[in-house]
């Protein structure tokens, strides 16, 4: 049975999915990066391999997410795909009738508009990360709550307070003010969820035609508070896929399957036990002052990037696009 691995290295979490020829999910991993994507990928590989039988050989690997290039240099990838396409592919296969995808992750929030199974429009937050998962995380931590409790409490809000959602810095000021004058924690959290949803719909989804069925995915889809606030605002029920947090990796795995490489570039699961690190330096060869990064695996520089002149790009590179 042919198996395909999809790796999605996002800003906060790393996701991996292995699928077979029939698109069945054989193994999956969801773990936090803790700011160290390389280690997370290694750890993920180890976890995945422990869930597969020992003789398993992969037939194709694709990477996606904001660290897709880094992950590809490390594991050896047959395909590097942007996360917007990866998410769309996963949804189009599972829900052919879907017309809108909401994807809210750690640093990114996206909206993808589908019509007749084709992407016709999309948007992603650019200069501002307001209202994404990392802010919710941060606020939950400030209140000493797990993110699950956070979602539960939001639903218990009786009179959600008004919180400025335009910018998270201001939102926090607002929340602290509300807490100090005596609002209940449920109402504050409920208010925060409402304002983040408003911000998402007004900024990321501005001018987009949101039609149902709407699929809601990404790590934040686990948050009941945000989910309910979105449903209230849009007056429609959202579809939450079974693997809502893994959709990018699932899409990548499906793309790896479609690409059907004759011979995979994958460097093998042993990689998880090899010491690896990156090192950065400012090149002084010319006036460009490029910040070059080199990836070192097992005492060998396997790739270099960040240079305009490409003098450090020694290793063969997989297909990009």
């Amino acid at each position: 049975m042919a198996l395909y691995l999809g790796i999605d290295v996002g800003s906060i979490t790393t996701k991996m999915v292995v699928i077979d020829e029939r698109d069945e999910v054989i193994a999956d991993v969801y773990l936090r990066n803790n700011g160290r994507p390389l280690e997370a990928v290694q750890q993920g590989l180890e976890m995945i391999s422990s869930r597969l039988s020992r003789e398993t050989i992969l037939d194709g690997v694709a990477t996606t997410g904001s660290a897709r290039h880094l992950a590809a240099y490390l594991v050896g990838s047959d395909l590097i795909k942007n996360e917007i396409t990866a998410h769309s592919i996963a949804v189009i296969d599972l829900f052919p009738g879907a017309k809108t995808i909401f994807e809210i992750g750690g640093q990114d929030s996206k909206v993808i508009i589908l019509r007749a199974g084709v992407v016709v429009d999309f948007a992603m937050n650019t200069v501002c990360a307001a209202g994404t998962g990392s802010f919710l995380d941060q606020q939950a931590a400030r209140l000493g709550l797990s993110i699950e409790e956070f979602g539960r409490l939001a639903q218990r809000a009786k009179h959600p307070v008004r919180v400025a959602g335009r910018c998270t810095v201001f939102a926090e000021t607002d929340m602290i003010h509300k807490q100090q004058i005596g609002h209940s924690i449920e109402d504050i959290i409920g208010g925060l969820c409402d304002s983040l949803v408003q911000n998402y719909l007004n900024n990321v989804c501005r001018g987009k035609e949101i039609l149902s069925p709407v699929v809601f995915q990404g790590g934040v889809a686990a948050n009941q508070g945000i989910r309910k606030a979105l449903e209230r605002e849009l007056e429609t029920e959202l579809i939450i896929p079974e693997h809502f947090g893994l959709m990018g990796a699932l899409g990548a795995a499906k793309l790896a399957k479609r690409a059907k490489p004759c011979r995979t570039q994958f460097k093998g699961f042993e990689l998880s036990r090899k010491p690896c690190f990156t090192r950065g330096f400012e090149c002084e060869e010319c006036g460009n002052q490029c910040e070059v990064i080199e990836l070192v695996v097992d005492q060998q520089v396997v790739a270099g990037w960040g240079d305009l002149c490409e003098r450090y790009r020694t290793s063969p590179r997989p297909i990009v696009g």
């Binding site: 795909k81 007749a116 992407v119 429009d121 650019t126 200069v127 001018g207 460009n288 490409e310």
Partner: protein, 366 residues
């Protein structure tokens, strides 16, 4: 006296040519780097747009290298660029840097001449007769070099989506531009241009490709400078799209001198006229033209439009709101990219890849 000027695309090549040919000492600021960003951001006021910060960074670096006379193009309101020279003067003075400032007026009016009167009086003392006599020739040389750079860049935009080895066109373009830059006479310039043309055309190409057609519109600094837009033009080209833009130095200079050739003038007029369906009056800067160009490009069969703007740019923020509507009304996908000091190159790459892919799907479905 040592003249300096900001970076903007290939502007340093022809500014340098003018100074060099007329025998005026000059300093080209170091290529825009992270250090330039840092310096510019550190000394700019909050909420000002990205071009301002980068130009300021260029000036600081050049002044520290020993330049003492800044030449800067001014423009008119309502775009804040029209007031840049005044604000930057104050900042540089506060930093304790000593220099003289020459504003090249966007339009030659009595007011503009009056604005520069004091400076020119000073300058006259330092310029020799030789400098002044050679200046018209310098201008001619600069103009020729500018046209040569534009011709090479336009050619590269055509070749890039067809290149077999990714990034090769860009390398050839760089080499060709350096030949133009190094030319010291009109004869060597023409030779350099011809050699450059051949070099770019020699890039190995796949003649069977039918690249997507994408127009880049938006605020002129972000459209014209690859440091500010993180190489959007090159990225789109390498993803397989033939890119066009109408913001070039020649269009803007000719526009200011009101000497556009009939076809160029009529193109801008056509854009402006087309925007009237959405805008009742001239919002300023490139706003109306961004909208008008998007509409006309959709009629010309372009696959998509990429709209570039600096964060907090007033005219283009207006345009971006209207463009979402234009995209729907004229069935042309429009991607707006907002640029600021953050390191968002990866994000831009992701958005462009997804955009190009979407256009390819759309083309296949049609």
């Amino acid at each position: 006296m040592k003249v300096t000027f900001p970076h903007l695309g290939t502007m340093h090549i022809f500014c340098k040519a003018i100074a060099e040919t007329s025998g005026i000492p000059y300093i080209v600021p170091p290529e825009t780097s992270r250090k330039t960003f840092t310096l510019g951001v550190q000394h700019s006021n909050e909420c000002i747009c990205l071009p301002f910060k980068i130009i300021l960074g260029n000036f600081i670096e050049a002044l520290k290298m020993g330049a003492d006379t800044i030449v800067m193009v001014g423009s008119g309101p309502p775009c804040r660029l029209g007031l840049y020279d005044l604000v930057q003067k104050v900042i540089l003075e506060d930093m304790g840097l000593r220099y003289r400032w020459l504003t090249i007026p966007p339009r030659l009016t009595w007011q503009a001449i009056w604005k520069n009167y004091e400076e020119t009086k000073e300058l006259k003392k330092e310029l020799s007769w030789k400098n002044i006599l050679l200046f018209p020739y310098g201008l001619r040389m600069g103009w020729k070099k500018m046209m040569a750079c534009e011709a090479l860049e336009k050619l590269a935009m055509k070749v890039r989506p067809r290149e077999v080895k990714k990034g090769e066109t860009q390398r050839q373009l760089k080499k060709a531009l350096s030949w133009v830059d190094e030319a010291r006479s009109l004869r060597t310039l023409n030779e350099g241009l011809e050699r450059g043309r051949v070099l770019i055309q020699e890039t190995e190409q796949d003649p069977y490709r039918t690249p997507l057609k994408i127009a880049i519109v938006g605020e002129l600094y972000t459209v014209m400078d690859p440091h500010i837009n993180r190489g959007v033009e090159q990225k789109l080209g390498e993803l397989g799209a033939e890119v066009t833009r109408t913001s070039w130095f020649s269009t803007h200079i000719l526009r200011s001198l009101r000497k556009n050739k009939a076809d160029q003038a009529s193109e801008r007029i056509r854009f402006f006229e087309a925007s009237k369906a959405y805008l009742g009056y001239d919002v300023g800067a490139e706003c109306n033209l961004s909208i008008g160009e998007a509409i006309l490009r959709s009629q010309e069969g372009y696959d998509g439009v990429v709209h570039l703007m600096p964060f907090a740019c007033m005219p283009e923020t207006t345009a971006s709101g209207i463009l979402t509507r234009v995209g729907k009304d004229w069935d042309i996908p429009i991607l707006t990219l907002i640029l600021d000091e953050q390191e968002i190159e990866g994000r831009i790459q992701t958005l462009l890849e997804a955009f190009v892919e979407m256009l390819q799907w759309k083309r296949k479905a049609a």
